[in-house]
């Protein structure tokens, strides 16, 4: 292999693998556990160029094939090497309308970086870090002109302002359609705002990305619970929307169904994070919504996903003396991003792996005092392909806790399904949608993201939004279903 003629990279291929992956500058753990500011500080232009030079510029880049959005990694990395950051930004924007967000929260090890050729021998190219660098550069410089199609005369309603909805909104507005996004909460962004903490995804970044959409002409209306405040049928029949995209997210938190879940001090992850992220409970009493005072307390989260780590790292920042993850499988099976696990360990989070709570124990006044747990071992693989955890007899132990947070996933929120006649759901209550077009059983109604797939990732939701936008555009042009 030789570098292709169009490569601006001065390094011969064999030299590139010798370069170490450039470390992301980050707030030191002792500092960052005292604040909610972003942990990762971002590459400098020098670091970005240096990292970009590691790219092997594969003829058939697996990174691009394995990106749910198909971002042209090789080309934008070449543009970084050439120091043409504006062109790199434009290149990313062709496929990804929220790069400052995906650059921060996408599980790159499952997609681009996981398939990077270098990952077989050394560390993969820092594609996520590079994407973030370019996205932040773009936001700091102001966005260039965006090509917009002439008005189509068609109206589209998007239900939910999370990653799926925003991604679809951006694509549809560029095609000339009038796009209005309805949001149930008082802030836009969905899970990006209520779910992901400031230290991983600053609100300012979300605001800037929303501002881009607004400048493109997307309209937003907050405080509307579609299904309750207005139904999908009313949107289409009375407000003359030609098509609707349902992107409401997974919705309802799952509990463990073990004794003691109603004790004071037991939260769902959604409630705990919503209080902190959306309602700013960490700034109480400057903000009104409180959270239990965690200073000096023992706190545990039950679960092993990104949500669980967001919870426990937030608890640490709120002064928890002991902050622990209780997960029933081993670290290898943890669904959380590798970087989050590393960051959590650096912040002194304890991990009780292969353990699960059996019961939450109460003090005399109805407050949580401990979790009674059991050790687990891994048996045969289950339906998810992961080895099934089995309790070890006689291994029970008590973990004293003031606060326990359950991050056991979510189930489908039924509000839209139950108020939209003819909208078919699967047996778990999620909306049935064609995987290629996101079409539902109702003419003109499309759906995508977690409300179709169950809990997944920001990038997969964005990809669904993009697929829906393409199919909606076809439908709006031809009108056939």
């Amino acid at each position: 292999m030789n570098s292709t003629p169009s490569s601006p990279n001065p390094l011969p291929l064999r030299e590139r693998m010798k370069l170490p992956r450039q470390t992301m500058p980050e707030q030191p753990p002792p500092d960052r556990v005292l604040n909610f500011s972003e942990v990762n500080l971002g590459y400098s232009p020098q670091l970005a160029r240096q990292e970009a030079r590691r790219c092997l510029e594969c003829r058939k880049p697996a990174c691009m094939d394995n990106c749910p959005l198909g971002v042209n990694v090789r080309e934008f990395v070449r543009l970084i090497i050439a120091s043409d950051f504006a062109a790199a930004a434009a290149k990313i924007r062709q496929d990804n309308v929220l790069p400052a967000i995906t650059g921060r929260v996408c599980p790159q090890e499952d997609h681009c970086e996981g398939s990077c050729l270098m990952a077989k021998k050394v560390e993969p190219l820092g594609i996520g870090y590079l994407e973030r660098f370019i996205a932040d550069y773009e936001l700091s410089q102001g966005l260039g002109p965006i090509a917009m199609a002439p008005p189509s005369g068609k109206k589209v309603a998007i239900v939910g302002s999370g990653p799926a909805g925003l991604s679809a909104a951006a694509d549809l507005v560029q095609k000339g359609h009038q796009v209005r996004v309805f949001e149930a909460l008082h802030e836009l962004g969905g899970v990006l705002v209520y779910g992901i903490p400031e230290f991983r995804l600053p609100k300012q970044v979300i605001r800037q990305q929303l501002e881009v959409l607004r400048r493109m002409g997307v309209q937003f209306e907050t405080d509307v619970v579609v299904g309750r405040t207005v139904t999908i049928d009313e949107l289409m029949q009375e407000e003359a929307y030609d098509a609707v995209f349902v992107a409401t997210g997974a919705g309802s938190p799952l509990f463990l169904n073990i004794p003691g879940e109603h004790l004071n001090g037991v939260y769902s992850a959604n409630e705990f994070l919503t209080r902190i992220n959306l309602m700013h409970a960490y700034e109480f009493p400057r903000y009104d919504q409180p959270l239990l005072d965690l200073r000096g307390q023992h706190v545990a989260v039950i679960g092993g996903g990104n949500t669980a780590l967001d919870v426990i790292r937030s608890a640490r920042r709120l002064g928890a003396e002991k902050a622990a993850v209780i997960y029933r499988r081993s670290q290898a099976e943890m669904p959380a991003r590798a970087e989050e696990v590393r960051h959590a360990r650096d912040e002194g989070i304890e991990f009780y792996l292969l353990a699960a709570p059996l019961e939450f124990l109460s003090d005399r006044h109805g407050w949580l005092r401990a979790a009674r747990c059991v050790r687990m071992e891994l048996g045969e693989p289950d339906a998810s392909g992961r080895r099934r955890p089995l309790p070890l007899p006689g291994s029970e132990f008590e973990l004293p806790l003031a606060v326990a947070v359950i991050a056991a996933g979510a189930s489908a929120n039924p509000v839209i399904q139950s108020t939209t006649p003819g909208l078919q759901t699967n047996r778990w209550g999620y909306i049935q949608a064609d995987p290629a077009t996101q079409r539902t059983s109702r003419k003109g109604v499309f759906a995508g993201g977690d409300i179709v797939t169950g809990s997944a990732t920001v990038i997969l939701a964005m990809a669904a939004g993009r697929r829906a936008a393409r199919a909606m555009n076809d439908y709006l042009a031809g009108g056939t279903w």
Partner: protein, 305 residues
């Protein structure tokens, strides 16, 4: 303010007046909500940009005018701030209607038990039950005569109206359960009881109707944040099962509700609530000296605040 500042609706307050000490009635422009409201449903409001979200039951709606009315009792900071607003002001956020509507059917004889500000929440359901052909017996309970609200409105839709006050300043002295006991002892056949008020009152009503096997509906007021089923903070134990008051309720079978658990959960943030209220009062005093009237006096722990 929304991220980026887009909320295309303005929730203007058209009317606002105190109807009892610390209890204010608002008429608010909310056309989408007014159109969809059914008895028993509620809204979530936010008063200022750093404010919390609180649930408030809708007292009435007028789809033609595009307005709803809310009755608010000053208890904590948010309700006190809300009750300092006047006609011409607006709410920052208002979302709804939320929750399941009350079950309206022809049951026969229904008893509506209202504690304090709970009267405003029970009123639309009571009126709908009357329209559905039920014989409506209403029992209004308050601490004192001047805390009685909506007496005239309730009388207009009731076949029989009883009033109890704790100090005997109006109606008979005692609690709504005393009146209920008299009613049941007199041999009145009751097909359905609806109790809306403080948890202790609803618990007492349920305890009284259980032996008589009278179906009893209660409207619960747990701590709530999003109101759409997303956070699970409002979960209550009903018949041993976890239910979300925001989407499965707010009305439940009173005989199946674990009231003690709910009372404990509702006390979770009492210290923080007091801090927030005290700080707000102090800031008012330091900002405006004594020229501004104090917020209305807080009442005992009420029903949905």
């Amino acid at each position: 303010m929304s991220t980026g500042g887009t909320s295309n609706r303005v929730f203007n307050i058209l009317e606002a007046q105190f109807i009892a000490p610390g209890i204010k009635r608002f008429v608010i422009e909310a056309p989408r909500t007014a159109r969809k409201h059914q008895p028993g449903q509620f809204v979530i409001v936010r008063v200022h940009s750093r404010g919390e979200r609180i649930p408030l039951t809708i007292e009435s709606s007028d789809p033609a005018r595009g307005v709803i009315s809310l009755v608010v009792q000053s208890i904590g900071k948010t309700t006190s701030m809300l009750n300092s607003l006047q006609a011409g002001d607006s709410l920052l956020d208002l979302v709804g209607p939320l929750g399941r509507p009350s079950e309206i059917a022809s049951f026969g004889t229904v008893v509506i038990l209202c504690g304090g500000v709970g009267t405003a929440m029970a009123y639309p359901t009571a009126a709908a039950l009357k329209r559905a052909g039920n014989r409506v017996i209403s029992i209004l309970g308050a601490r004192r005569k001047d805390f009685l609200i909506l007496e005239r409105e309730m009388r207009a839709i009731s076949d029989l109206l009883m009033i109890t006050t704790e100090d005997g300043s109006c109606g008979s002295q005692g609690l709504v359960t005393d009146a209920l006991q008299h009613l049941l002892a007199s041999g009145t056949h009751v097909d359905l009881a609806l109790a809306v008020g403080p948890l202790a009152m609803m618990k007492a009503v349920a305890a009284m109707t259980r032996p008589a096997a009278i179906r009893t509906i209660v409207s619960l007021n747990p701590i709530m944040i999003d109101g759409t089923g997303m956070c699970g903070g409002c979960r209550v134990l009903v018949g041993g099962e976890s239910k979300f008051a925001c989407v499965d309720g707010p009305e439940f079978d009173g005989h199946a509700v674990d009231f003690d658990r709910l009372m404990q959960r509702n006390s979770m943030y009492r210290a923080a609530e007091q801090t927030a209220l005290a700080q707000w009062r102090e800031s008012l005093e330091s900002l405006e000296g004594s020229s501004r009237p104090r917020g209305p006096e807080p009442c005992r722990e009420g029903s949905r605040s």
